[in-house]
C-alpha cells in the first residue's frame, strides 16, 4: 500500500504540469495572433522574416495541438493506470487481510490447544503435588513423632543425670561451706580468745600498776630494781 502512494503522486503532478504547459502555450499563441502586420509595410528581408515567423508559429501551433492531444492521451492513460493500480492494490490488500485472518485463526487455534494442554498438565501436576504433599506430611509426622520420643527419652536421661549431679554438687558445696564456716568460727573463736587473753593481761598489768605499784614500799621497789639490774648484769646487757 505504501508503494502506491508515491506513484500516484508522480502521475498527478505530471498531469498537472502538462495542463499548465498547454495553458501557457495557448496564451502565447494568442499573443502572436495580435502580431498581424501588413506585408506591404515591410521590406523584403522583413517580409521573409515575417513568413518564417508565421511558419514557426504554425509549426508551434501544430506541436502544441499534438502535445495537447498527447497530454490528453497521457492523462487518460494515467487515469486508467491509477484505476488499475488501485484495483491491483485493493486485491493485494484483500489477499493480505485474508492471509492475516487465516494466520490469526491458526494461531488462535494453536494457542487454545496449547492452553488446553498446559491446563491438563497443570492439573496433573497439582494432583501429583497434592499426593506428594500428603506423603511428605505423613512421613514428616512420623519422623517428628520419632524424634520427639527420642528427645523426650534423652531429656529424661539428662534431667535425671543433672538432678543427680546437682544433688551431689549441692551436698559437696554444703559440706565445703559448712567446713569453711566451722573453720571461720574456730578462727574467730581463737582470735577472740587471744583478744580476751590480751585484755586479761592488759587489765592485770594496769591493775597491778595502779594498785601494787603504789602499795609497794620504797624498799620493795628498790629490791625489784636491784633484781632487774642483777638480771641485766647476768645477761651482760651493758658491755
Amino acid at each position: 500500500m505504501e508503494v502506491f502512494l508515491p506513484v500516484t503522486a508522480i502521475v498527478i503532478s505530471s498531469t498537472l504540469a502538462l495542463i499548465f504547459l498547454v495553458l501557457y502555450l495557448k496564451e502565447r499563441g494568442s499573443g502572436h495572433e495580435n502580431l498581424h502586420i501588413d506585408l506591404k509595410d515591410l521590406d523584403p528581408g522583413g517580409q521573409k522574416n515575417y513568413q518564417l515567423l508565421n511558419e514557426a508559429i504554425k509549426k508551434s501551433q501544430e506541436m502544441l495541438s499534438a502535445s495537447e492531444s498527447e497530454s490528453l492521451k497521457m492523462i487518460a492513460n494515467s487515469k486508467t493506470n491509477i484505476q488499475k493500480l488501485e484495483e491491483e492494490h485493493t486485491k493485494e490488500l484483500e489477499g493480505y487481510i485474508k492471509q492475516f485472518e487465516e494466520s490469526i485463526k491458526n494461531t488462535s487455534a494453536q494457542v487454545s490447544q496449547s492452553i488446553n494442554l498446559a491446563s491438563s498438565q497443570f492439573n496433573t501436576f497439582l494432583q501429583q503435588l497434592a499426593e506428594k504433599s500428603q506423603q511428605f506430611e505423613a512421613a514428616n509426622e512420623q519422623a517428628t513423632t520419632v524424634r520427639i520420643e527420642k528427645m523426650l527419652d534423652q531429656l529424661e536421661t539428662k534431667l535425671s543425670d543433672f538432678l543427680l549431679e546437682s544433688e551431689q554438687k549441692t551436698t559437696g558445696a554444703i559440706d565445703l561451706e559448712l567446713q569453711s564456716t566451722r573453720q571461720l568460727i574456730e578462727t574467730y573463736k581463737q582470735q577472740q580468745l587471744k583478744l580476751i587473753d590480751e585484755n586479761i593481761i592488759s587489765m592485770m598489768e594496769r591493775t597491778m600498776a595502779l594498785v601494787i605499784g603504789k602499795r609497794l614500799t620504797l624498799k620493795d621497789q628498790l629490791d625489784l630494781v636491784y633484781e632487774s639490774l642483777e638480771k641485766a648484769k647476768l645477761e651482760k646487757f651493758i658491755i
Binding site: 586479761i200 593481761i201 598489768e205 605499784g213 620504797l218 621497789q221 628498790l222 625489784l224 630494781v225 632487774s228
Partner: protein, 163 residues
C-alpha cells in the same frame, strides 16, 4: 683538767646532776674571777656550795681568768660526749638512793664513769627498764608478767565454766 673531771664524775651519777654541777661551777668561777665583789654571797644551795668548796680545797679551781672560759667549754664538751645509761623507773627514787644505785652500777657493770639518765614509766609496775647504746631492754615486773602470760592465763582458765 682531767683531775677536775675525775673529781666531778666520781660522785655524780645522773646526767641532770652533772649538767647542773657544771653550770653551777661556771657560775661560781665567773663570779669568783670576774666579779668586783667576789665575797658577795652566791645563789647556791648549801650542798652545791659544799661540793664546789671541796673542789676548791683540792686546788682544782686554781686557774687564771683567761683559762676559765676554755676550761668550762671543755667541761661542757666532755659532758656532751659522756655516754649515758637511760633507766626507766616506775617510781621516783630519792637522790641518796640514786647515788647508791649509781655506785652499784659502776662497780657491777665495770664502768667507772657510768652516768644515768633517769626517766619515769609507771606502767613498769616494779623493777626497771634500760636503754644502752640505743637498745631497749625491759627487766621490769611488767615484762615478767608478759613472759609468764601463758601460765597466768592457764591458771585463770581453771576457774572458767567451760574450760
Amino acid at each position: 683538767m682531767n683531775n677536775l673531771w675525775q673529781k666531778i664524775i666520781t660522785n655524780t651519777y645522773t646526767v641532770k646532776t652533772l649538767k647542773n654541777r657544771v653550770r653551777f661551777l661556771r657560775s661560781y668561777l665567773n663570779r669568783a674571777k670576774f666579779d668586783q665583789n667576789p665575797n658577795k654571797e652566791q645563789n647556791l644551795s648549801p650542798e652545791e656550795l659544799i661540793w664546789i668548796e671541796s673542789l676548791a680545797e683540792e686546788h682544782l679551781l686554781d686557774v687564771d681568768t683567761k683559762s676559765v672560759s676554755p676550761m668550762m667549754d671543755e667541761l661542757d664538751e666532755m659532758v656532751e660526749k659522756t655516754e649515758a645509761l637511760t633507766v626507766y623507773f616506775p617510781f621516783d627514787p630519792p637522790s641518796e638512793e640514786i647515788d647508791t644505785l649509781g655506785s652499784w652500777m659502776r662497780s657491777n657493770f665495770g664502768k667507772s664513769e657510768l652516768i644515768m639518765d633517769i626517766k619515769y614509766d609507771p606502767a613498769l609496775i616494779g623493777g626497771c627498764a634500760l636503754v644502752w647504746k640505743g637498745l631497749y631492754r625491759d627487766f621490769s615486773v611488767r615484762k615478767k608478767i608478759q613472759d609468764e602470760k601463758q601460765q597466768i592465763l592457764d591458771s585463770f582458765r581453771k576457774y572458767a565454766p567451760n574450760s
